[in-house]
């Protein structure tokens, strides 16, 4: 019965009413699969057994599919792209992160990325599940726009790519240190080669930058269509721009000055710090257009 879209759009549904919903069931199953996958990767790290890594990969893939079903069901249920709450934003971001990891596996098959991506997704989703998963109604009219999925997807893909480059940056620093200090043990063997990690940075930073740019442009266009002005220097916009300049500088240093290796890795980590601040911190500290998304809604801020 809950497959169909509820006719009454004005009633506020309570959490207890949504107990046992299919999307939540899928969500929980997806968390379980991600946890299994993270555990598999952990065991892989402890024993470097290939069969565990393969088990972990398939668990992550199963979780990804279940997670997609959860999001899809939620979209059908709410009648719109489910991104209006912090719960949805975290869920969607974790989904994209796992998706990026799965896609990347064809380029860099080292299971070590799985042992980082799956725990991050687990933490984000477990955190998300402590938040209210109630779909807020009536949905603010500005959120019922097709700009919402476009803007959010582009921005989150950018964030996901930046997350992976930051992780590969951390691995680069670690691997670099191990080789420099001549500590050639099991951990050194588990980590990918410096070359592979630097390639990830070289390709990932410009690609993430591209999506970040599109995310900002689509946000401006959305603002333009909703309120008639494209840019209003609200905190999130400002910090996005700061992030944008940071990554623009990074791309420039790499292309023009040949910065690579350690420096590029450190920059990727700092850049992702900015991204996370813009993504989560700004909404928690300031109010503005974006207050209805992210952690901002924790404070109950819903208006414009």
């Amino acid at each position: 019965m809950w497959i169909q879209i509820r006719p009454s759009k004005n009633r506020l549904r309570t959490d207890s009413e949504r107990e046992g919903q299919v999307d939540l069931l899928f969500f929980k199953l997806a968390i379980a699969m991600y946890l299994a996958s993270a555990l598999g990767y952990l065991l892989f790290l402890l024993a470097s057994s290939g069969s565990r890594a393969i088990f972990a990969f398939w668990s992550a893939l199963a979780g990804f599919v279940l997670h997609a079903l959860s999001i899809l069901h939620r979209a059908i249920f709410s009648g719109f792209f489910p991104l209006a709450t912090a719960f949805d934003a975290l869920s969607f971001f974790s989904w994209l992160l796992i998706g990026l990891f799965l896609a990347m596996r064809y380029r860099e098959p080292s299971p070590i990325f799985g042992s980082i991506a799956t725990p991050i997704a687990c933490v984000l989703m477990l955190f998300g599940s402590t938040l209210s998963y109630q779909i807020q109604e009536p949905l603010v009219p500005v959120l019922r726009s097709w700009w919402l999925p476009i803007h959010v997807t582009l921005a989150l893909i950018g964030n996901g790519i930046f997350a992976l480059t930051a992780v590969s940056g951390l691995m680069y620093l670690l691997q670099e240190r191990l080789i420099k200090r001549k500590r050639i043990g099991r951990f050194h063997r588990l980590l990918p080669s410096l070359e592979a990690l630097d390639t990830l940075n070289r390709r990932g930073v410009p690609l993430g930058f591209f999506f970040l740019t599109l995310g900002i442009i689509s946000g401006a266009l959305w603002a333009g269509s909703a309120w008639g002005y494209y840019w209003s220097w609200d905190p999130k916009e400002t910090w996005s721009l700061i992030t944008w300049f940071a990554y623009a500088a990074m791309v420039h240093q790499r292309l023009a000055l040949g910065w690579r290796g350690k420096r590029a890795a450190i920059l990727a980590i700092i850049g992702f710090g900015l991204v996370m601040f813009t993504f989560l911190g700004v909404s928690a500290l300031f109010s503005g257009h974006h207050a209805f998304s992210g952690v901002g809604s924790l404070r109950g801020a819903t208006g414009l």
Partner: protein, 434 residues
């Protein structure tokens, strides 16, 4: 009494190389020698395992002690040796001890270089030769396939084969961790001595691009370059060579460092900070140790590489302990199977299997039989039981008689396969020998 596994042999830990090289089973290329062991009284199946570190004979027999003596005599005859002198180098392992030994050998736990990968291939080769001349039967076939299975488990579940244990391998492995794939990387050789050549030949297997040789005496550089199909540079163009190279191997006889920090800083700028791997195998060193502190330069000398090798060997010992647990599990499974290969267990299993089929069918037809009176039901039970007994009578009588002949293992094994008496899941893993 059922067939026992008996292993007689010597290896690198029981016999010095002068003894080992005397016992090589010459002329067994086509399995003729293996075959000759079947002529010995008491030997049912035989297989020879001969490598440069070991010589072993694996037989199945019902009377290990007298058969073992006869086998030792035969080994002496084949090699024209008086075996009394060699007896102290030999080991005799029978039953589960022999099985464990064989599994450990196949898993490379008994090798001189722990975890080296060649031994499994050598065991397979010995088995293939023996099987080709029909010197193996059901027990040996099963034993060897179980040994291959145990070796596979050890390889995939422990890290015993994962760490490089020679300096050349460590160097190549490290180069990969720094530079990724090596095929299109450029190698620079500084110094044209014997050491440089030796090192270069190892690395050249991994690299497609022609290498560059730099040497104080340009003629020697040209000479070595020609041998290695590379090119030569005079010493005053070393910096240019360093800018282009990805891997540098230095081995000059110079008393002072040839590559110093200030020069390398300049080189790194010109390389646009592309990483470079420098291997210094010269004594005294050719490269100032501080060069390793420059970003993007990874400097290893021969002692550093040797330290990695030593550590890897230590790691393998730890993994070997895990591997022994796996081997013991597999030995237990195999011993369990050999026990089922006897007259009473086979007949009991056959009876149980047929009874299970009978009961299964009655349960399946329970709905249709529900209308029967107790008396009719009793009749159905009696008829079915009688059919089963009639069917079982001849095979059981045959197996009892076969148990007294020398071909018993083949018959019992056939019975197990035909009636699926041994339905443990890993059976299919062993497959059929071709």
């Amino acid at each position: 009494m059922s067939a026992e596994i008996l292993v007689i042999g010597l290896n690198h830990s029981t016999a010095p190389v002068e003894i080992r090289e005397k016992i090589t089973f010459p002329g067994d290329d086509q399995g003729a020698v293996t075959r000759s062991f079947l002529q010995i009284e008491g030997v049912q199946e035989a297989m020879i395992l001969s490598t440069c570190n070991r010589a072993e004979l694996i037989v199945t027999t019902e009377e290990p002690e007298p058969t073992g003596e006869r086998v030792v005599d035969a080994i002496g005859r084949i090699h024209g040796l008086d075996m009394e002198r060699f007896r102290k180098f030999l080991y005799f392992k029978q039953g589960s001890e022999g099985i464990r030994h064989l599994f450990r050998v196949a898993s490379s736990l008994d090798s001189m270089v722990l975890g080296e990968p060649q031994i499994l291939g050598q065991v397979k080769e010995g088995y293939r030769r023996a099987a080709a001349v029909q010197a193996t039967g059901p027990v040996m076939n099963r034993l060897m396939h179980h040994a291959f299975f145990a070796a596979k488990r050890v390889r995939s579940e422990t890290g015993i084969g994962s760490a490089a244990v020679s300096v050349a391998y460590v160097a190549v492995e490290l180069a990969r961790k720094i530079l990724g794939e090596l095929t299109n990387k450029r190698v620079l050789l500084l110094g044209a001595g014997e050491m440089a050549e030796l090192a270069a030949r190892h690395v050249m297997n991994q690299v497609d691009a022609p290498l560059v040789v730099v040497n104080r005496t340009f003629e020697n550089a040209c000479l070595l370059a020609r041998q290695l199909q590379g090119s030569a540079l005079p010493l005053d163009q070393l910096e240019q060579g360093l800018v282009a190279a990805d891997v540098v191997i230095t081995s000059t006889g110079s008393c002072d460092p040839v590559i110093c920090t200030a020069e390398m800083k300049n080189v790194m700028r010109r390389r646009r900070f592309r990483p470079i791997f420098i291997i210094d195998i010269a004594i005294p060193r050719d490269v100032e140790p501080e060069v390793n502190d420059i970003d993007g330069i990874y400097l290893y000398n021969i002692d550093d590489l040797q330290a990695v090798v030593d550590e890897n060997i230590g790691g393998r010992r730890q993994e070997a302990r895990k591997a022994d647990v796996i081997v013991n599990e597999e030995v237990e499974k195999f011993v369990h199977w050999t026990k089922t290969l006897d007259t009473t267990p086979v007949i009991v299993a056959l009876r149980e299997r047929l009874e299970a089929i009978r009961e299964g069918e009655l349960v399946r037809q329970n709905g249709k039989l529900a209308t029967l009176t107790p008396a009719q039901r009793e009749t159905v039970e009696a008829i079915t039981r009688s059919i089963i007994n009639k069917i079982a009578h001849d095979p059981i009588a045959f197996l009892k008689k076969a148990g007294l002949t020398s071909k018993r293992n083949d018959y019992f094994y056939a019975a197990q396969r035909m009636f699926r008496l041994d339905d443990r899941s890993e059976d299919d893993d062993f497959g059929e020998e071709s």
